[in-house]
Structures are given as C-alpha cells and as structure tokens.
C-alpha cells in the first residue's frame, strides 16, 4: 500500500444555483420515469387526471433503490461531460432497474435501439407499459438494458464484474454501485479485495459506491446498523479510502455528491498519472464512496399511516392496491406530480433541451459505451497453431504425457501472442493443475507486498496476467466482466469446487441465452471457457470431499444454444478442443481433463478428426468391422473421459485376449452432447448416425467420467437405450488409490469385463472362469493397495497391447 497522491482542492459546493436546479430537475425526470414504469400503462404525462385504467393491473418492480441509482447515474454523467470520461455503470442492485432505465431513456439511447420507445408521449407510454410486463422487459438490468453488463438479478457479483471490465482497459472507469443488501453476500464481501490485483498502469479504475439505503425486502441491512467508525474501518481494512455522502435533503446531497465525485475522480486520475508517469505500479488506497441516502427517496413518506420512505416498505411497490382505493390513487397522482413533469417534458413528451444538455452524447453515454456491448470491441485471438504442440503418438496407448501440462505450453503462447486481451484465471491452482508453462509468458498479477523470497519461484508481479485468488466467485466474476467487455479468458478450477459457482454459471448462461435470442443488437462475446481439472478420479489425498463430477449435470440443464461440454481423452484432443473453444463466441465451454500423466492415444491428425466428429469408433481398439456393416459387433465398449477411457481400453484388451472370437467395437465420446438427439441439442447425432455407431440391439458398456445417470438423461430416447449399461461415479470414495477408487465405483477394467460377461451370451465355457479371475484380481489389487498404499505396478504402468 502506498499513500494516495495529493489531491487537488475541490470546492464544497461545486454546483452553481443554475446547475443545481438543472441537475435536480433531471433527477426528478428520472424519478418520474421510475414511478411511471412501475405504475402506468397510460396517461404517461399526466395530461389528464389519473384514473384506475391508467394503472397496470399487476404492480411489479422495485422502487426502493431506484432514486439512488439514478442520483448516482446523473452525477456521473456530469463528470463524464466535464472530463470526457470513458465510463460504464454497473448496478449491483439491478432490481432497481427503473433507476437505470430512466436515465438511459432520457439520454436517447433507448429510443435509438428500440424505436417504438421513442422520446415522445407515445414512446413514453410504451416504455412505461413494457416494464415488468408480459412481452416486455424484466425488472432487473437485463441484457435488453442498453449499457448493462450486469443484470443484478442474483446479488453479489457487481464488484467482481466491474474489476473484470477494467483489467487491461486503462482508459475505462467502471462505476460499481454496490447494494447494502448485496454487501451481505459472500461473493461481494470478498470481491472488495480485487484491488490487490489491479495495476494502475495498464488497468482502468473501479469506483465502488456503496449504496447504503438501509433496508432489504423486510429487514435493515447489516452495514446500515453498525457504527460509522466500524463502517469506515471496514473499507480502510479492505484497502480503500472511503468518502461519505450522507443525508436526505436533495439540495445538499447534490452538492455533496458533486464535490465528492470531483474529489474521487481527481484522485483516480492522480493515481493513474503517477503510476503511468513513473512506470512504478504500486497499490494505492483507491477511493470509494458510501452514499447514505433514504430507501425510496422522494417517495411517499407514509402509506396508510405506516412509515414508508427511508424504510423497508419502500423496497418494491410502496403504494399498492390501487384499484378500488381512491386514496392510494390520489397519493400516487400527488407523488407523480411532485416531480412536476410539465416542467421537465415538453408537450410532445420530450425532455426539455436545457435538461437534455446535461447528458453526454454518443459513445460517452454510459448506455452506449461500447464496453457495455463488448462484442463490438472483440478482437480475434492470435492463436498459435495448436498442432505445433502435439504429443507425438506413433502407436496408441504406448506413451504417457501430462495432458494439462501440454495445454499449459499452448496457453503460454496464446498468452504471449495476446498480452492485452487474454487472461488465465484459477484459484491458487495453476501450478497444481500443471499449467505452469504459462508463467514463462506471464506471471501472476500481485499488487500486495512482494518480498525477496518471492523471487525464487512464487511467480508474482504487478505485471502478471494470470489471476489467482482463493475465491472461485471472484475469479468467475472477473472473467465474466472481462468477457462482457470483449476480451478472452480461460478459467481452470478443481472439478468438485466448480459447484461453488454453479449459480454464477446459471446466471451467465441465461444472460447469453437471452442475448442470442432476444437482443440482436448485442454483438457476440468470447465464450466462457472452463477447464475442470483435479478431477474426481485422482483425489488420492483429498478424498471424498473433493470427489464431485456433477458440475456438468448443472451445465446440461441450461439452453442447448449456449452450453458445450468436452471430455478430451488425451493431450492432442485437449489441444484441439481448447483451440476450438478459444475461437468460439457466446458459449460456456466446459472441458474436463485430469492433471496427472495419462496414456496418449491419438496423433494430432487423428485427434483433430476425432474431436471434429466429437464421437467415433477407435478402429485400433476394435476387432469388429467398425461400422462398415452395421450391427456387426457383439459388444460395444464406449468411454467418455480420460480415466474411464483407459479402464475401458484395459477391459477391451482383456476381453480380446480372453475371448478372441468376441467382436468388440470401441467408441470414444469427446463431445458430450453428441449423445443427445439432434432435436434437443445442435451437436446431437441424428438417430441414424447414433444407431450406426451404437447399433440397435447390441449391449453397450458405457464408461463415464461423471455420474452415470447423466448419460441416461441424454440418451433415453435412443433406439438402443435399453441395452445401454453405464458406469460412472457413484459417491463411493475415500482415501483411495486410483484403481481402488475405480473399483469401488465399478468403472475399472475388471468390473467392466464382468459386466460384459454378464450381458453377452456367446462367450462359451471360459466365461465363468474369466469372471472368477476378475473377481480375484479385484480382491488382490485392493489388498495390494491396502498394504502398499499404491496400485500394483502392472496397473500403474499399463499400456495398450500392441
């Protein structure tokens, strides 16, 4: 931490009376629009007395944080105009969308994008009616909202999104309004530490504004009910310099806010100038603001004798039951008229010119800033040819290599070629996941203290572009913010703990789905690429708590238009798949690959072919006709995932040796969604192709990386589904050797052979004998593991027979 550079003196009341009058009027217009959105379906300018039929039948929306959101928005606007700032607005309490939609409409962007919501009476009426209305828009800052990269429906990610947006974006200032309710969430509570990863030379700045309006749905917020001293300490402890703007009198609050914003913007600029002039990247105490203002500010003070303004009752719709309640109707009319719409809008419904002038224009409008429609700024990655990183494979299953290590070499050069538009994210596990070569191109960013000892192997520097923090939430939030502003990234994490961010995945997938289908003006952004490593099958010392392959179950619940799941069996397939994912747009790509050494099966040429098809017969492991004459094999051994593939192959080797007349077809699945019918997923195989591969009547032994029933969920409509026998992880684990864990869950070679013997008739008299041998082998191997703590060398060093 270094001292903040001296700030210039800022006036206490920077607004002239004229400016003050105007900015307040502009705010009144915002508030008028916010109330209008929640209540009105007609009579938008109140040209006639308010009647029941002007009121929507269902009153939906959140008034509480709306006035504060627009208050901040327009004060930022003032600074954008004054200093020509490049700024986007992130509304943590995104359910206060009326407070954002209002200023977005007033600065003209809304009408440009949605011409029927024009800047006139008719347009305003349509703008009001559509809000939280069937066929219209949601009540959060959804993808339909110009300028939004953060819906704020689920709370907790505003700050990490904001930081993600400014990394490698030196000119950008992201204003992150953090709700005081949102502040209670875990993800938000730790995201404040993002300042330890922001380099003022090459990154932009985040201006966090804690919107302390005191209440959630039905409760006070924690931060509103601790002492001022505690609150101040908390933010100093997080490494910020907090400024307080507190009160409720609009005139005073406008002056305070304007003065404080002048101060913090000049501080931000001074910090950046010093760092950029000196070339020395140190961590300053970045400024942040606590805006302490009433919930439902300027709304009804009381309703039916109950405190409403500055209380939780303002959270959603403070006045309801409008129908059949003339008193409430009158109160609403008074409330709307308190903003004097006739002084704000001309007769046609357009904002009067002197107010219109207050907003920035063109791309400086936060609602039209290209950073908020990141696809506009997206550049293709300059990818090295992944084929150059191939593991040489002369014969299948003969050599071992570290799949993720190989990937690390590729990612090193992706990083080197794309220094300002690509970052790698992982929770303290880049080394653990064997991606260490990346550090040759870029180390880990670290703005905390660096000590001498770090020089030897810690790989941290303020200039790094590998992001490591022990918070999956913050990492994914950063990455999403980075992608949503048009840059590229790669997230790798422990498979079991990807579940920590299930809900973040859900939200991002939903965002992409809506963008794709409903928001044509949003230009596609780079995909969110996730590598799940340290997988369920290799938890030799972490044990049961670290065994959970169910993240892909969550993923497969989302729209098939935005999700992709890959299980590359070896290094060359992993390279091919990753290259494909890095080029793609608007997907969440999940790649599952273990970090340990694994047998290599396919040459790069074969791998590319295999991954392009996504599923295929491995002829070298099969002894049937390999699909040239359908229904030829006696049994199909299918696998999906690196470790299950090895066990399936080992089982196939045993079967072919013990039963030379048995015709075995070996199928490997890389692209999980190939299994689904084409009607369900764009990658799905046609039934004809599926039947050609899997036959319509032969037993299939499917060895799967994850929970076995996921395969049934994907294939239940297939012709030969009743012959599909799936093995996978069944929650049978503890501290195990690799083979022991496989045995406990029956994905091991021995159990697979037993499975085949139980399901294939024509094996003859040897079957019972082989079955017994398999059972003995299981017992022997478990005993060996219990004795030596290791698998037998013949298992550990097993190779595909030549």
């Amino acid at each position: 931490m270094v001292a903040t550079p001296n700030k210039p003196q800022v006036e206490k009341t920077p607004l002239s009376p004229e400016e003050l009058r105007k900015i307040h009027a502009y705010w009144s217009a915002c508030n008028y629009l916010a109330v209008g959105m929640i209540y009105l379906q007609d009579n938008p300018l109140l040209k006639e007395p308010l009647k029941e039929e002007h009121i929507k039948n269902r009153l939906l929306g959140h008034w509480g944080s709306s006035p504060g959101l627009s208050f901040i928005y327009i004060h930022i606007n003032r600074l954008i105009k004054k200093y020509d700032l490049n700024t986007i607005y992130i509304a943590g309490p995104g359910h206060g969308a009326p407070g954002v939609l209002g200023p977005v409409y007033l600065e003209g962007t809304y009408s440009e994008i949605y011409p029927d919501k024009s800047e006139d009476e008719e347009g305003m009426k349509a703008f009001f009616k559509q809000f939280s209305f069937p066929g219209g828009i949601g009540s959060h800052c959804t993808p339909e909202t110009p300028g939004s990269i953060h819906e704020g429906g689920e709370l907790g990610y505003s700050l990490s999104h904001a930081y993600g947006s400014v990394f490698d974006n030196p000119d950008l200032i992201s204003v992150a309004v953090v709700g005081d309710g949102e502040s209670e969430t875990g993800p938000l509570a730790t995201a404040w530490h993002s300042n330890k990863f922001l380099n003022p030379i090459r990154d932009g700045a985040v201006l966090p504004i804690l919107h302390l309006n005191g209440y959630k749905i039905a409760n006070p917020t924690i931060l509103a009910r601790v002492s001022h001293e505690e609150l101040e300490c908390l933010f100093k402890g997080y490494g910020y310099k907090p400024y307080f703007v507190e009160g409720s009198d609009p005139e005073q609050m406008h002056q305070k806010m304007a003065a404080t914003l002048e101060t913090v913007i000049s501080e931000i600029k001074a910090i950046q100038k010093e760092a950029r002039d000196t070339g020395v990247a140190k961590r300053p105490m970045w400024p942040m603001i606590v805006l302490h203002s009433p919930k439902g500010w300027t709304g009804p003070t009381e309703v039916d004798g109950k405190k409403t303004e500055d209380f939780w009752r303002s959270h959603q719709v403070p006045l309801s039951g409008m129908h059949n309640n003339t008193e409430h109707l009158k109160l609403l009319e008074e409330w709307l008229k308190s903003y004097k719409p006739e002084e704000l809008f001309d007769d046609t419904g357009k904002l009067i010119p002197e107010l219109k002038d207050l907003a920035p224009t063109g791309k400086r409008r936060m609602s039209a800033n290209p950073n908020s429609n990141g696809g506009l700024l997206r550049k293709d990655l300059r990818l090295p040819n992944f084929r150059d990183y191939a593991v040489e494979v002369d014969q299948p299953g003969a050599v071992e290599a570290g799949n993720t290590h190989r990937l690390g070499v590729f990612l090193r050069d992706v990083m080197a070629n794309n220094m300002n538009i690509f970052r790698v994210f992982g929770p303290d596990e880049t080394a653990s996941n064997r991606l260490t070569p990346i550090y040759e191109a870029s180390k880990k960013v670290w703005m905390g203290e660096i000590i001498d000892a770090d020089a030897d192997g810690t790989e941290i520097t303020p200039d790094g572009r590998v992001m490591e923090m022990l918070s999956e939430h913050t990492l994914q939030g950063w990455l999403e913010g980075y992608l949503l502003t048009g840059r590229h990234g790669f997230f790798h994490t422990y498979e079991a703990f990807a579940h920590v961010v299930d809900s973040m995945f859900n939200q991002h997938a939903k965002w992409l789905d809506i963008c794709k289908h409903e928001v044509p003006w949003r230009v596609p952004i780079p995909s969110l690429n996730i590598l799940l490593s340290s997988t369920v099958w290799r938890q030799d010392h972490n044990g049961f708590s670290h065994q959970d392959p169910g993240y892909v179950d969550v993923v497969t619940n989302k729209s098939p238009d935005v999700v992709r799941v890959y299980f590359p069996p070896d290094a060359n397939c992993l390279l091919s798949v990753t290259d494909h994912c890095l080029k793609s747009k608007n997907y969440v790509n999940v790649i599952v690959a273990d970090k340990q050494k694994h047998l290599q099966y396919l040459s790069m040429e074969e791998a590319v072919k295999h991954c392009t098809k996504g599923i295929g017969i491995w002829e070298w492991a099969s002894n049937d006709d390999c699909g040239k004459e359908p229904d030829e094999p006696d049994v199909i051994m299918a696998s999906c995932g690196d470790i299950p593939t090895r066990e399936s192959l080992a089982a196939t080797a045993i079967l072919r040796e013990e039963f030379p007349h048995l015709k075995v077809r070996f199928i490997n699945v890389v692209d999980l969604f190939k299994l689904q019918p084409e009607s369900e997923h764009p990658h799905g195989l046609s039934d004809k192709d599926f039947d050609t591969l899997f036959t319509t009547n032969k037993p299939i032994m499917f060895n799967f990386h994850g929970y076995p029933w996921l395969i049934h969920k994907l294939t239940y409509r297939r012709t030969n589904h009743h012959n599909l026998h799936v093995r996978g992880y069944k929650e049978k684990g503890n501290i195990n050797t690799p083979l022991e864990l496989a045995i406990n869950n029956q994905i091991d070679r021995f159990n697979l052979v037993i499975d085949v013997i139980e399901r294939v008739d024509k094996l003859g008299s040897a079957a019972a004998y082989v079955q017994q041998r398999m059972k003995n082998a299981i017992i022997e191997h478990k005993a060996y593991a219990y004795e030596h703590g290791l698998d037998k060398p013949e298992i550990s060093n097993w190779k595909w027979p030549l």
Copy 2:
C-alpha cells in the same frame, strides 16, 4: 456496538519456566506426530535409524498449517484446564488434520474410540500408517476425527459453523481457526458478520483465530501481504477487537499466546457476565486473535537450497522424493529427531505423565466434547400435532389456501414449543415466503442497532430466533453448525438461489454419508430441512434469472441413504411432509412448495395417507378403475409439484369433458424417489408396484415441477419408460404471467391436452377439433396476458369441476 467491559490485567509472560518447558514439549510431541503421520509407516519412535522402508510409498498430507493448529489447540487446552471451559475446536484449514489428530491422540480420545490406535508403539505405528492411506483416514478433519464438526475439505465455512454451534449454547466457546487462504473465499469473508446475530445472554461465544501463516498452495495470501494497519482496520470494521500474536521464536510465542488467550477468555467471560447480570443484550466488540506464525513452523528451513519453512513450499509435503534420496532421508530423520521423541514418549510409546497432565480429561477434552458429536445431545422436538393445522378440504380442488402460510402457523408453534433447540433460517425472505406467523412465536434476531421505526413491523430483536441475513452461505453454515451440535432447524430459500449453496449441500451430504456408513460412534443428528419456495413457476416480476429448479438435480446425485426430496401438492401434504422431516435424522430433506395461494386437494386424513405412500392415484380425478384391474386406463396423467398438479388436473378436466369415453388415471407424486427402482433408493417403488400404477404399456403424461429429464434419469429402468412423456421447465422464460410461463414450457393444461391427443389413438373424430381449440386457447390466453398483464380470470380462478 457497546464498549467492551474493562478487562482484568493479564501478565505478559504468564507461563512459568516449568510450564513453558512442558507446553513446548507437548507441542513438540504434536509436531512429531504430525510429521510421523505424513511420512512413516514403521519405526514410529525412531528406535532404529530411519530407512527407506519406514517411509510410506506415497507421501500425502499437509504439513504447512499443522504446527499452528496444534499450537493453538494445546494453548486452548491450558485454558480449558485452568477455567474448566466447555470448548470445541473448529479447524478451518482442516487439511492440516495432522495438527489436530496429534493432540487428539495425545489426550487419549483416539485410542478410546479406535483401540487399535493405542497409546503405545504399535498403536502409534497404526496411527501413522492409516493417515491418508487406503483403508485409513483422509487428510482433513473428516467425520472419523474425534472432536470435529467441520471437515475443512472445502474452504470457507469454519466461522459460520462455529457460530451455528454456539447459538442457544450459552456455556460453549467454539474456537474457530480461520485459514488465511480460507479467508479469501466469499463465504468466509461475510461470515465475520455473524457477530451481529449473537446474543451474549443466551448464546455461547466464538473465538475466531485467524491463522496468518502467509501462504496457500503456491501463493502468498492476501491478508498476509497488506499492511498491519489495514488488517487491524478490517477486523475492527467487522466488529471485532483484534489481538495480534506475531513471531516465530517458540518461547516468546508460547508466552504471547498464553497471555493473549488469558486476555480474550477473560474478556469473553466479562462480556457474558455483564450481559447475563444486567439482562441487557448488546453487541460488544468480541475479541479475536491474529496468529501470525510461519507456515511449516519448525519444519525444514531449506530443502535442496530452496526456502521452505515460512514459505509456500511447506504447504503439503516439504520433503519428498525420499526413496532413492539419502540426503532427504537424512533431513527427515533430523527433522523428526529435532522434536526429541525420546524425551516425550516412554519406551512403550506412551506420552510421559508430566505431559499427559497438560491435557484436560473426560468430556472437557475438545476431542470428546459431546457438542462435537451432537447426536449425543439431541432432544426430540416437542411437535404440536400437525393435523391441528389442517386446511379444511370438503371437496378436492375447490378452495385455495397459501400452503407456506399454513406451514408458517405450524412452524410458529414448533418454535414456541422448542425455544432453545429450534431455529428458522432464511435470506430476508421469511415474510416473502409467507411464513410470517412464525414471528408471533419469535422474531428475527438482530444485534445491530434497532431504531424506533422498527417497532412497527420490522420484527427484529436481540431475543429472536429467526435468522435472516442476505447470505445463503452463512445461513446454511449456521444451520449446519446448529444441527451438528444436536439442535434442529428449518432453512427456507428462493429455489433458484439454492444453487448458491450447492457445494455446501454436497459437503454436508458427504459428511452424513460417511457418518452413517463408516463412523458408528457418531450419534445421528437432526436432518437438514430445506424448503425451496418462490419457485420457478411464480417469478412474475423477477423473470428468467430467478427461474431455476435444478437444485434437486444436484441433490439426486448424492447417496440415496442421505437425501430425500418432496413435492407436496397442497397445504395438508406440506404439513404432513414437514412433520415427517422434522422428526427425521441424518438426512437432507428438500421440500419444494410455492408461496402463493394454491388449490387444495386433500383433507388432512387423505394427505397423511398420500404422503405416507409418497405416490398414489387420485381416484376423484380419475375415471378408470384406479388400479383395481391393471392396465385399464387409456392414459395416465401424472404430476409432481404444486403448479404442475393444477395444470394436469385442468387438462384432465378438459379431457374428461371432451372425451367422456377416455379412461384417465391421475397419479400424483409427493416423494420424488418413489420413481427410482428400490435397488437404487430405499424409497423406490418395486417394479411391480410401479407397473401397477403406471401400467406397462399405456401413455403417461408426466407434468413435473423441475427440469423434465430428471424424471427420465430416475425412471429409465422402468418397464413403461418408453411411454413416459415428461413436461417440465425448459429454460423458456422471461417476465411472464403464470399461465404464459407454463405455456412457454408446455406444462399448461392446453399443451397437455394436445400431448394426449397426439399420443392416444381412440379419441375419435373430435380429436382434431379439440386440438385446434387448445391451440386457439393458447393464442388467446397469451394475447390476453400481453394486453392486460394478467391471466384471464377463468384461468386464475379455475377450480376442479364437481
């Protein structure tokens, strides 16, 4: 916040030279055991020179935080003995289990529970070998660890578990060691705020000890690389009074730790005394400790010329490659001998008496404290008769009632009857989920400031037992801590955002699974009961981001021995199911029920019968022979979930009116796992019973609350699976009216009728006409919703025909 009562003066060096020598020796014994666990499979007392064959083949475990963990443990022991404290130990960095297992073994508990790990050379050898070894125990504080209620495999929950353990446990002090890596997680970062919910009169105390040892796997920790001032501010900001114990010299550190612990324990006692004497519950600044000590303390300073002690290289196994490396072997021997085992253990391998005396005895041992085996303390809830809360139902589908509201009345009396052993948890949504009646028995606990306005409806008080904070992580952590110490609870949350705590559910389910199958000495604890409300089908103004019924998909991946999922269709079923869940042990029970008003179908008597079976034919809705003669119906309408049930019934009504000769059987599923084969889940129906209900060949239209493929995942083995047609949520949503959302996902009455027409042959000439009418109805209803923002009254007010 109130000032902390004056603390008594504590000496700076409270340990006499003799006491110092002994406590250091005891710590050496702990460290010796920790190293032994990681490395040795033989020669446990080093009676002969260390050889390769004494070393385990695989070296697994975490040395880094172990010495710090045992350092804290034994200093707490000193205070337990001195003041007869009732204390449990929660190791956030639970992967440092050797630092906990050591003292647990030394105080004798381990040998009492596991007699083969006796307090002698043979036992020590077994104790060493089993650690992180196949057939042995994991390297975290797993359920097998006496005294543990927190595995610490996944990081982030130590503090919320600790707080949960002390609620309504006035005598207990839970020492929560928080790792500095763990501190970076979101759940941990917000859990510090738990102090705003702890009432010093009726609750015990948590003593958080931040174990600042500087490093994670391969990185420094954030908190270790900020200024002392920031760190101090952070904890003051969280509302604590931080004490720093910093250094590396053992002698000085023992004195500092002893002195600081004396201080904080006396402060805790003073706070409690003042609150309990005056009867005034105020929030003090509770003390906490920052223990800043080297990672891998007392381990090798350097290995192969690389800094190791006080560096990230100490995280796991600082010395490895022992085989074929005599230098490392020698280094290990020196390291082990540096603890002078010959002075700590007698010839038989037993800790010498003067050290043995340092530990508490009996139940005062943290490893034997009954709070850490909560089933021992569990009392049955005094449950009111849930039948007394019945909604009167004279005829099915005729009246509406709020299901969760009714539940709220029942829970009110559960609360009133069980004031000290039952709490309700929810993120700011008790009122939103219509459980408001609970407040009549107990309001929400709130130790923050309370203002005058709160008196009117905020329902907060220091005496409350309803826990509301906007952090699902903290709530679930508290609840788990409460349950693990033998008390009961009920967690209700937004369905979509239950995904926020997917990973916590996974960990708790795994804990229960292991307890059930592997740890017979753990007495069963009350189940974790979760109500998912504000469900996918009623997100009228939150829209798409709040629509996700996939939490149950995650739940169904866990062991069938510990998970249960219920979809009660009406209020009486919800009451019956909840009563059942509150009585159960060692499960995670998930109940899905919407908060809005719903039609009521079953009288209480019928509901109890129906829920007991878990699945059944509703004869009043059927016109077949209802199973008396199998295979009689032409079509089976099945439903699972409140809203799908209503739509299925409405479709059935249409079908029966339009096609009077069509024989319809109506089946409702309450207990989801009834669908699975009995071989897969203990609740599963036998195939015979399933076939009797669903026939073996008739079309089934299954209307499901969640993602439709979950039903296929559960039923793919059933005889009639190929005739099973499932409707459910397919990610087709936005701002919708209830019917519109149902239509978009095809779970609505009209689409269900169309489904039947498409799948049943014998409908005659009317079929095409009815089908067209259904299609028209869909268009009309959507148009009405777009116009009025509401469903047509005939839909909203629909009742089952009489």
